[in-house]
């Protein structure tokens, strides 16, 4: 039970850091922490063997989004 509260608290903490941070690129590591915490909370909340699929789908999707934001911020694809 402590695990779930701890993970949820870290998610909220990371979300606040994302909002406070001004630099776009430096927001992303905080977003990353939030995504870790949300993926962990998903599995801790859903008591089902397939919850791992939900967590992995959420995590890979959110990482891909962070990747896209960072690459766009870096100037997009060089042709």
């Amino acid at each position: 039970m402590i695990a779930l509260y701890l993970v949820a608290a870290i998610a909220v903490f990371a979300a606040i850091r994302v909002i406070i941070e001004k630099n776009t690129a430096r927001k992303l590591p905080y977003t990353n922490v939030m995504n870790f915490a949300v993926a962990g909370a998903l599995v801790l909340l859903l008591d089902h063997p397939l919850s791992i699929v939900a967590a992995a789908a959420y995590f890979v999707g959110s990482t891909l989004e962070a990747n896209a934001i960072a690459s766009t911020y870096a100037g997009g694809m060089k042709r």
């Binding site: 990353n32 915490a37 063997p49 791992i52 995590f59 990482t63 891909l64 990747n67 960072a70 870096a74």
Partner: protein
């Protein structure tokens, strides 16, 4: 209550050592896998951090690495035992390919973590300890001080070279 808390702290330490070792072994601080990872590294360096450490942090943001592998493997072991952990490793592998990551740090980390987490469940730990532990471990790298975390990773990277 206190016992569970101590288990989580121990799991956090184990996960931290596991994912930093695997990431540094797979040379994540060397170069940005995608342009976005290099951009994160550049801005962390501009904020007073170290470039190699920033590059590793950028790579962690942009593709599932050993830290993501450890988290998802712990989730997999919690949900479905060793088969769950290996399923998580497969999903990390697919995630790496989707994120245009040429490396295998995530997949290797997930497979290793599956067996590490399972071994610790045999000696009184719970897989949930490792889920919370891994979230604490990533918080110490990505969520507290980018300057200090990147300098620490830079020092470890120099030691590996």
């Amino acid at each position: 209550m206190l016992g569970e808390f101590l288990h989580i702290l121990a799991a956090a330490t184990i996960s931290w050592i596991l994912f930093v070792t695997v990431d540094i072994f797979f040379r994540l601080p060397e170069a940005g896998g995608v342009s976005g990872a290099s951009a994160v590294a550049r801005d962390i360096e501009a904020g007073g951090g170290a470039l190699a450490g920033g590059t590793m942090m950028g790579n962690i943001v942009c593709s599932p690495d050993a830290s993501a592998g450890t988290l998802l493997a712990a989730c997999g072991v919690y949900a479905a035992g060793i088969p769950g952990g290996l399923a998580a490793a497969l999903m990390v592998f697919v995630g790496n390919r989707i994120c245009h990551d040429p490396g295998y740090a995530g997949t290797t980390g997930a497979v290793l973590a599956t067996f590490v987490v399972y071994a610790f469940t045999l000696v009184g730990f719970s897989a949930t300890d490792f889920i919370a532990g891994m979230v604490i471990a990533i918080l110490t790298i990505q969520g507290l001080s980018h300057t200090h975390a990147s300098r620490l990773l830079d020092r470890l990277w120099r030691a590996r070279q």
